[in-house]
Amino acid sequence: MILLDVKNLTLELELAGEWVKALDKINLVINQGQIHALVGESGSGKSLIVKAIVGALPNKRWKITADRMNWRGQDLLSMSVQKRREIVKSDISVIFQNPINSLDPLLNLGDQLKQSINIAALPKHLFWQRNQYKNRRVEELLHRVGIKNHERFLKTYPHQIPSNLLQKFMVAMALASDPKLIIADDPTRGMEVTSKAQILRLLSRVNQVKDTSILFVSHDLLAISSMSHCMTVLYSGQTVETGELQQLRKRAYHPYTQALLDSAPSFRKDLPPKSPLTTLAGTIPTLHHLPIGCRLGPRCPRARKECVVTPSPRKIHGHYYSCHYPLHWAGR
């Protein structure tokens, strides 16, 4: 069953009087029970996609258009703000990448966790039982993410807690409303290996036990390959390639995907010791200087004259790519 179906999502931001397409025709499909990875360099618009889905864009000027942006068959863009909030509240949770900034500094953690418990989903109760129930639920959530000393923890404020614990707390907050989709926006950023493994294991377990879909936004290819089913590669606000992870790893069609996989030494079996790692020359363009057509153009080793026209997505066996001159493709 398809949970989230986004087609040709375009987000324009106003930068110094000009409208810039920060996201250009993004396609994303998330199925029930799937872990879908969203990969891209920093600045490729991963977080913007997350914010566009939940409707939490910053208070600046922006325009959002899409052919389709459906949540379980309901169009998110055309519905009222109220309705959309209700859906987001009950079905979607976001784990933000920067826990210390995403938590209210003046409220203690217990209050914040209780706020994200979905009251509508509680069993029938009288109002004086509500608080008791919430306390029990909060305790259970914290134990689930591996925080044992819950009483003390709930009374503290965000700045008093080390960031890896806060990240676990964010996961607990995301689980609080029993969502159908968890959007994890780089949940393991700047973490050391053990906490990272804990968080990833936790997310996989939630996916397996509760059949919760996860949109896993990251640039950690190793983590992605260990847990996700599907992957969407993003470059500078364009979806470059989408497909099942195994297929993508075996045979990437887009030069950027290939470059991304090559840049991770753990994916290269044939890499001799002490050899230089392959990288793409150049850096990701800033929003002020976006190239026309395929945005990878200036950095692409296979770029030709036709690449100034944006390639339309093509499909082979549930594997989408947007490239005029794909790899492993002798047809043209």
């Binding site: 987001v88 938590l103 404020y157």
Partner: protein, 343 residues
């Protein structure tokens, strides 16, 4: 927490000591004989009758003199006014409540009006409401207080005749002085026409209060607006939206507290502006307050009065500012001592 209170008290006491040192130095800095500047009595008077009241130890070292000065200060023995010949402590005790009353009204009004308007402007950022409020606040901020007060007198008291010209209460009412705060005094007293006396006081205080409140209100609008806009731009507010809270819920649960915390210290800093404006307005409306009294003292080159008035005003400012800062400091959980939890 105790250490914080101790630190702030310490800071306050040291500032007050520096102020008292400065006020003592004024006796030497003003023209004339230091003992005359300190006591407000001529050397002949001192020699003849008032010796028992003062123990200034002239001829001793400056430190000893300062010690005696402080002793006299704490005994309520602040010297006499050159101009009226009355004891300064009594005079200031008489005029200070009127000033505090006026400033308090102005402060309350500007907070009650300014903060909601600031929120309104911030919530309608880049919309007409915001622009209108912003331009009104620039206008209000740019009008000189004395000119505004004069215009108000001309319009509302002389032409329309809605409000009385000057003073604190009409001469018809004889209110016995208990606390010095006229509203309290009326309520405590047993004069027959309390209600009309109160109404009269309110009528008298409207124009001066409003003329002071205009500047402070516009300042508060601007401070609040900025702070709320910044708070609404933070990641945790966006995270709250992403959790599916409505604008109202986000504002109540996360917006207001976080926006107000940076406002209050700035508000405390506006207290000095408020007090200065109050002094000017007091003179214009002949409000019998400290500002009016101090400006009269300056006219008459009444050095002991200037010294005592300056000490009072600055002590008031220091105590007020420090207490607000301390309150904020204790309220803000971010600045509490970090106790790492073991989990």
């Amino acid at each position: 927490m105790n250490s914080v209170v101790l630190r702030y008290t310490n800071l306050m006491v040291i500032t007050l000591i520096v102020l008292s040192l400065f006020s003592f130095a004024l006796a030497y800095l003003f023209p004339g004989h230091p003992i005359e500047n300190l006591t407000g009595l001529s050397t002949e008077q001192l020699a003849s009758g008032y010796q028992h009241a003062f123990n200034y130890a002239s001829g001793e070292s400056l430190l000893v003199q300062y010690w005696h000065y402080m002793a006299a200060l704490f005994n309520g023995n602040w010297g006499f006014s050159f101009h009226t010949g009355l004891p300064l402590y009594e005079e200031i005790k008489h005029v200070l409540p009127a000033s505090i009353e006026l400033s308090a009204y102005a402060l309350i009004i500007s907070v009650l009006v300014g903060i909601p308007l600031g929120f309104l402007a911030a919530l309608n950022h880049h919309k007409t409401t915001d622009y209108v409020l912003l331009s009104v606040s620039v206008l209000g901020y740019s009008i000189p207080v004395f000119w505004l007060a004069l215009l108000a007198i001309m319009g509302f008291s002389l032409q329309l005749g809605w409000f009385p010209l000057s003073g604190r209460i009409s001469l018809f009412y004889e209110v016995p002085v208990e606390t010095g705060y006229i509203v309290l005094d009326i309520l405590l007293s047993d004069i027959p026409n309390k209600r009309s006396a109160l109404l009269d006081v309110v009528q008298h205080s409207i124009l001066p209060t409003l003329s002071i409140a205009v500047v402070t209100t516009t300042l508060i609008i601007r401070i609040t607006r900025r702070s709320v806009i910044e708070t609404l731009d933070t990641e945790f507010v966006q995270a709250a939206y992403a959790r599916g809270l409505s604008t109202y819920q986000v504002l109540v649960r996360h917006g207001i507290r976080n926006a107000l915390i940076p406002i209050f210290p700035l508000l405390a800093m506006q207290f000095t502006t408020l007090l200065t404006n109050a002094m000017i307005v007091e003179t214009i409306f002949s409000w019998p307050g400290l500002g009016n009294w101090l400006i009269q003292a300056i006219y008459h080159q009444d050095y002991p009065a200037i010294r005592a008035g300056m000490l009072t005003v600055s002590a008031l400012v220091v105590v007020f500012t420090m207490s607000i800062e301390l309150t904020i400091r204790l309220m803000d959980p971010r600045r509490r001592r970090v106790r790492r939890g073991t989990i």
